[in-house]
Symmetry: C2
């Protein structure tokens, strides 16, 4: 059994079996990193001068080339990730749709936020000059592929698509979990770059350990911005490296989240079963490997409900909504049963599965925590995915001969009083686990939110009767997240203009940005102003005639008209 870290050759590992996947891919050395960045810097001079329609052509060609990879991409990706052909095909669809969304955005062109203030030569005491500005590409961007989105947030994913759309060359550091997938998609992108007659330096994929190759890229003076999706530790390490550069650059790190889901009393009493069943699907979707996985459920007990001690609730409770009495207990019971019914799943790699099992064991043995499914409280410390031991369905990992990265869903509950005093319980468990906190009221919810820091999302399940009393809580919650969801689930991030996928630290490095949706392009462009610029020297977008036909702000007003 080989490892894919700290070696000269990077191999994928089949997470179902632990088998090494050929071929291997050479890890870059320092000279290779230098050469790639030099190529990107050189290509930038030509690529930054391309028009929006030119870049749209490239993005659409990339989408076509990825589609042309056909079943090979599905097969290779499934072998490396165990995500399954259906999910992978769906993710491929999202990936090419994202590319085409950015193609449409830059073809239309208004995203450059062009602004024109025309001259007032006779203004007193000083003449007003003519000033025009627009957003321009910043320079070479490094993108780190994500383990959990081998297509949609890796080589040709949202970070790459938005950086290319803005006019920047991209160098992708392939994730070590799916080097074959990365190489295939990289080949498709490079074919598209060649097809469009652009210099090869516009795009590159590089393999190697993040601690070596990734660090070298982030520290390289030719690199101007970084996109990252992954763990908090990895993201923070890159942020620190970038901040320590002679010329610091932004790292747009999206670092996961526990995504609190707040179940309000009327909702839990009247449709707790449906919420529990939907929630179980969201927690277990893709073996829980989503940044928006709901890892914390703040359940507000209905007034007048007699709260049953949670540890007295048996798994597999009744399907009927319980009404007010014991509503939270019934909700937890139904959630446990539905999660348990999902059965085991194979995680992306052994390291992720091991970490999941360690965290599950730590939760299970923590003071005041009740385990409803998924962990053996007797042997919490021994829950490692590499130890097939024939144990039953209530352990979190390690069943049978396919146990290399196999895990089970896990559900815990705890009181609000215990939760707010347990830093461990506010940590993300990456995988199909969640924790219900039993809250008495809005004050308990606020106390819990105060200890968890920033998140990508927060979700409310509530009825009109709930929101009459909890509207203020919405205003509190929106300060801690990038997206507030009502009566839905946070998994499934719509790719559109209105999406915010980001949030206060530690959810992301910059709460001022989104990594999903058209707004993601703003991470990779900077404003440039031109004062009294001779018309032949102006870029197209701020020219009087508005040859690109874009919406601009002219002397303070939105307009698509030429400047008179």
């Amino acid at each position: 059994m080989s490892t894919n870290q700290n070696t000269d050759t990077i191999y994928g590992i089949n997470p179902k079996t632990g088998d090494r996947l050929d071929p291997g891919f050479p890890a870059a050395d320092a000279a290779r990193v230098d050469a790639l960045v030099a190529d990107a810097v050189a290509a930038y001079q030509r690529y930054r001068a391309t028009s929006g329609p030119d870049r749209a052509d490239l993005l659409r060609e990339i989408a076509m080339q990825i589609e042309a990879l056909g079943d090979e991409l599905i097969t290779v990706c499934d072998a490396e990730t165990a995500l399954g052909p259906v999910r992978i095909a769906s993710e491929r669809g999202r990936t090419v749709n994202q590319l085409r969304m950015f193609a449409d955005l830059v073809e239309e062109g208004s995203w450059v936020d062009a602004r024109i203030d025309t001259a007032i030569p006779d203004r007193k005491p000083l003449p007003k000059p003519d000033i025009r500005r627009m957003l321009a590409p910043v320079g070479p961007v490094v993108v780190f592929g994500a383990s959990n989105f081998p297509l949609a947030f890796s080589v040709a994913g949202g970070d790459s698509a938005s950086a290319l759309a803005a006019g920047n060359p991209v160098i992708v550091k392939a994730h070590g979990s799916h080097p074959g997938t990365s190489a295939l998609v990289g080949r498709a992108v490079s074919a598209a770059v060649a097809q469009c007659g652009l210099p090869a330096g516009v795009f590159a994929v590089v393999h190697g350990p993040g601690s070596v190759v990734g660090s070298a890229l982030v520290k390289h003076p030719g690199v101007r911005a970084v996109g990252f999706t992954g763990s908090r530790g990895g993201g923070r390490a890159l942020m620190d490296l970038a901040a320590a550069r002679k010329a610091p650059i932004p790292v747009y790190a999206e670092m996961g989240s526990i995504n609190p889901l707040i179940v309000l009393p009327h909702a839990v009493a009247h449709r707790g079963v449906a919420i529990a069943e939907g929630l179980a699907g969201s927690v277990c979707l893709g073996v829980g490997q989503f940044c928006t996985n709901p890892g914390l459920i703040l359940a507000v007990e209905p007034a007048g409900s007699e709260a049953a001690p949670a540890d007295s609730v048996s798994s597999g409770g009744a399907a009927a909504n319980p009404g007010t009495a014991g509503a939270t207990a019934a909700f937890v019971s139904r959630l446990a049963a539905t999660m348990e019914a999902q059965g085991p799943g194979v995680m992306l790699n052994r390291s992720i599965a091991s970490t999941y099992c360690e965290m599950v064991a730590r939760f299970a043995s923590a003071h005041g925590v009740v385990t409803h499914t998924g962990a053996r409280s007797q042997d919490a410390g021994g829950c490692a995915p590499s130890q097939p031991d024939g144990a039953g369905a209530t352990q979190a990992a390690g069943a049978g001969p396919d146990g290399y990265a196999t895990v089970h869903p896990a559900l815990f509950s705890v009181s609000a009083d215990v939760f707010v005093q347990s830093p461990l319980l506010a940590q993300e468990v990456f995988g199909p686990a969640t924790l219900v906190v039993r809250c008495a009221d809005a004050t308990d919810v606020t106390r819990c939110l105060a200890v968890i820091g920033g998140n990508l999302t927060a979700t409310f399940h509530g009825d009109d009767e709930d929101f009459a009393g909890y509207a203020d809580l919405v205003r509190v919650v929106e300060q801690t997240v990038g997206r507030v969801i009502f009566n839905g689930f946070p998994t499934g991030v719509e790719v559109c203009a209105s999406m915010t996928h980001g949030g206060p630290y530690p959810a992301s490095a910059s709460e001022f940005h989104t990594s999903v949706g058209t707004g993601a392009i703003l991470r990779f462009a900077r404003p440039v102003s031109y004062q009294n610029c001779p018309p032949p020297l102006l870029p197209a977008e701020p020219q009087d005639a508005n040859p690109r036909g874009i919406t601009r702000i002219v002397n303070g007003a939105y307009s698509r008209d030429p400047v008179a």
Copy 2:
């Protein structure tokens, strides 16, 4: 003679005399910092909920309260800064105009970039949810007052105005050079806050050493963003502190610049005299104490010109344009004469004047540098402002009994070959000094630009005949700056929607932002999305009816219409 650093009481010092100015202002201690931030955090809950028109009322009231300070403000500020009543009155005008500009911006309201994607319930394979987003205030902002703009970039300057406009409480760390001015303006702002019925925690001014009070504010977990205008050393120190926080925050540091000005051959041959005279005014304006002061002149010698050795040129050259022959030499000569004619000036404080004189002395004694005016080459090391020694007009500092912070303009020249090998010469000399680099062609200009890093501005002086051959250079230069100016001068930053005042590091901490103009508000607001939000819980801006009447992006198109 007292100092205003590292004491419990901060006093202003008259830079003309060195006399201490009463009253003193108590430096904050750690408890005071904690209390101020706690007040700001509490006030944020109320202030963030105010409407755009509410905030417009506050900003306009602040402007009125500042105007109501009347002559006292001018008198106090002039005593502390020596900028003179005319300049201070003008800067007060800019300050209140900025406040009113942001009032207009948030009253109109479209700056929140509201976006609406309506639901498609029957979309396959998954329904599309309703998603709406807008920019929301980020939380308490700390602003560091600038030495060189005691009004327009201090207590109620651009950083404060934009942060307040976005809906954030502001705590200003007053600059130690003008504590009395800061206290007066702070009083005006707090009066406006009270007048508008807002909690006092919306705004505070605090005094004390930056290394103590400033650091404590930047490190405080309740603070969410920082605005700074000042030295590179000071800005970088704050950036490093903010990056090392448990939850890092952005420091929008604007750190000055050498602002290259490129004089192209046809222009220098045919109107070199006019350019030299305008340039001398820009270099010496406000004793050179502007971030946009042109500190580097890249003069391209006309083809066929016989370049006279620059050290053979006497000061006070002929007024006539020289034509092609010796055009650069004549330009330098005229520039020297005009700068010399400006005479001495009093800088903002003794520390700034001392640093200026040290830098002038280092330039004067550097290899290959010719001094045209402003430094005694025989005694370059002795040019300290505190040593009145009766020396003549060609020394950079220290003339007569008013010599406490008095300095003289300084002009140097050097070859491109020497410049690109002298890191010293690429450093900013804050004050009325500039350096002419004799360039043979565009290649020389590009070589010089490559060694100086990012700048706030670059300026071209050129005619149509020049730009026919130098258009590519414009595309290179725009990559290194936030603003490109043609046939003008970089000092005098227009406050408008199209302005970019910022640039690649080290000009500013984030080249993605501007600190001047309406775009400055984007530094202090972050996107928040609402998914399937019950209409009563939505903020006003993304509601169907568009009650604020703003321009939004609805299903991909700009619109001011209600959502049907």
